[in-house]
């Protein structure tokens, strides 16, 4: 099968329509704004207060960025569940029988999570720091929004891999996303500086898009646009690798099911 961008766009567009319908069934604009967003902001504020308790303003600024970026990971990892909805609602045989590239369908199908994550993360990054004496300069605001969106997009590529694995083992879909979120929280440099961890864990952390997203946001805090660009480039590269892995993972899951192993009915 030759790749056609137009056809790929049609698949993603159609699946995004499903995502849109699902999202507005889960949330109304009120419940998203006054429940979900507020809950995530409280989470960031909680960690900021830990920083205040420690009594180190530098660590407070560090942990606010870390906690805000973890909002992005937490929300995006919900992809694991929404990927499994396809199997739980009996659509996998139809997807397998169709000429669609599965990763494109699943990319569109859960795209509401990274879109929502980009917004919640932007709000968290922009709204919380001023309350702790560290507001953003106005010229940096568009950069913050772009970095939040890129982090959401690249983390989404990783989340698709987790979703592909969960598709074969739907009973662990929530455990898989939770473990991934906890691992990222601990070892990406969000809450604890990367230097604290042994070299192996530091190397593994380079495979997490949010590690580079954090570097980019912190470089932006320092006003170092060169470092922002470098970290963003690395983040996009890592995200692209995860997208390729997700492509292969979805194909493998469907191929296994076709052989009669790990049925998707």
């Amino acid at each position: 099968m030759t790749f056609s961008p137009v056809r790929a766009a049609r698949t993603v567009r159609g699946a995004a329509m499903v995502a849109h319908a699902d999202f507005w069934t889960i949330y109304t604009w009120r419940s998203w704004s006054f429940a979900w967003l507020v809950r995530l902001l409280c989470q960031v504020v909680f960690f900021a207060l830990v920083g205040v308790l420690v009594g180190d303003p530098e660590y407070t600024a560090f942990i606010i960025v870390g906690a805000a970026m973890m909002v992005c990971v937490t929300e995006t990892m919900l992809t694991s569940s929404s990927t499994c909805w396809e199997r739980m609602q009996g659509r996998m045989p139809l997807i397998t029988a169709s000429p669609v590239e599965p990763v494109l369908l699943f990319f569109g199908r859960s795209v509401f999570w990274p879109v929502s994550a980009a917004v919640t993360t932007s709000v968290a990054l922009l709204a919380v720091p001023p309350f702790f004496g560290d507001p953003w300069a106005l010229w940096k605001v568009p950069f913050v929004i772009v970095l939040a969106a890129l982090t959401a997009l690249t983390t989404y590529c990783l989340a698709l891999v987790v979703g592909a694995l969960a598709l074969s083992f739907t009973e662990v879909r929530n455990i898989a996303s939770t473990v991934m979120t906890l691992y990222t929280t601990a070892f990406s440099g969000a809450m604890v500086p990367l230097d604290f961890w042994p070299p192996v864990l530091r190397w593994i952390a380079q495979a997490l898009p949010v590690t580079h997203g954090l570097d980019a946001v912190r470089a932006l805090q320092d006003g170092d646009l060169g470092a922002v660009a470098a970290a963003s480039g690395l983040m996009l590269a890592v995200g692209a690798v995860w997208f390729v892995v997700a492509t292969l993972a979805f194909r493998r899951v469907l191929a296994r099911a076709r052989r009669g192993r790990g049925g998707l009915d």
């Binding site: 499903v18 045989p93 139809l94 029988a97």
Partner: protein, 316 residues
């Protein structure tokens, strides 16, 4: 070129404990273009496994399947484009999307351009009688409406071959009748259809030819008329309070296959000639037995008769 060409098809499943289960065993079937072919068999006979292999959802263990000349193993993409699939049951639709959005989604997945999608979706909604409800969520539809939407979804790519796997399961009689009328229309339009069902009447009403499948083996392929003749030759009579000497007289009648006692006082007589049924009824009535009912055997019993008659030795 046949629309479907299945040669020596086998599918094994590995059960827990390492033992193999043969879901399909050496199936051979050729369906010419434009034919509606009924695949008739009880639950677990292998119908759905066969449909899944044809529709590229499962790989065969051995043998070949060609759809309009394309091999399901080596030319999968071409098969997917040539085929429409409608699996039975309520699952499979995006219930939060409207009927129109559901079709639009699948039309996009099959690569239709925006203009073609719009035209095709509108045409299909009208064809299945959902144009008046096109912008309502699929989740609010009745079972019959959902199945009509499933059929429209299966037709979205204008496939040369359509697989209908138990499409009327769970439908009420009116919905099932409407659905069959739609299949008739498709047949008249020249679409090749493989229809699986365990309903003999449905298979006979819709199909040009019918194959009987049981335990993964294709037992025979005949026209519905021939199968209907075979089936109508078998009847049964149930009666209560039949004295022993009357039972012996009935057992001795020509055309009586068996006389056995079921559920205590119920005596079941099976015949293989219409004249024999008449003779059994007359004997019972003349003997003063009034609690008598005549009925057709169900599908499993027909299998026993047909397969037994052909000496294929199915044990049940």
């Amino acid at each position: 070129m046949p629309a479907l060409e299945i040669t020596d098809l086998t599918r094994l499943y590995r059960r827990k404990g390492g033992e193999d289960f043969e879901a399909l065993a050496g199936v051979d079937l050729t369906v010419p273009e434009g034919e509606v072919h009924g695949l008739l068999g009880p639950n677990g006979a292998g119908k759905t496994t066969l449909c899944k292999i044809i529709s590229t959802v499962l790989l065969p263990t051995s043998g070949t399947v060609r759809v309009l000349g394309h091999d399901v193993v080596t030319d999968t993409h071409a098969v997917k484009l040539a085929l429409g699939v409608v699996f039975g049951g309520e699952k499979g639709l995006y219930e939060r999307l409207t009927a129109r959005q559901n079709l639009d989604f699948w039309a996009g997945a099959y690569g239709l351009s925006r203009r073609r999608r719009r035209a095709r979706v509108g045409e299909l909604l009208e064809r299945v009688g959902l144009d008046g409800r096109a912008d309502e969520r699929a989740g609010s539809f009745s079972r019959g409406m959902k199945q009509r939407l499933h059929l429209a979804r299966g037709l979205v790519s204008d496939p040369g071959v359509l697989i209908l796997d138990e499409p009327t399961v769970g439908m009420d009689p009116v919905a099932a009748r409407d659905f069959r009328a739609l299949v008739h229309e498709l047949r008249d339009g020249g679409t090749t259809i493989l229809l699986t069902t365990h309903d003999m009447a449905e298979a006979a009403a819709l199909s040009d030819r019918v194959s009987l499948i049981d335990r993964g083996r294709l037992e025979l392929t005949e026209s519905p008329g021939t199968i209907g003749d075979l089936v109508s030759a078998y009847e049964r009579v149930d009666a209560r309070g039949v004295p022993d000497h009357v039972r012996d007289r009935i057992a001795a009648l020509d055309g009586v296959v068996s006389v056995r006692e079921d559920q205590g006082s119920l005596v079941r007589v099976e015949t293989e000639q219409p004249d024999a049924t008449l003779a059994v009824l007359r004997t019972l009535v003349d003997s003063g037995v009034r609690d008598v009912a005549r009925s057709r055997p169900d599908l499993e019993e027909v299998y026993l008769h047909l397969v037994g008659r052909r000496g294929m030795g199915v044990d049940r």
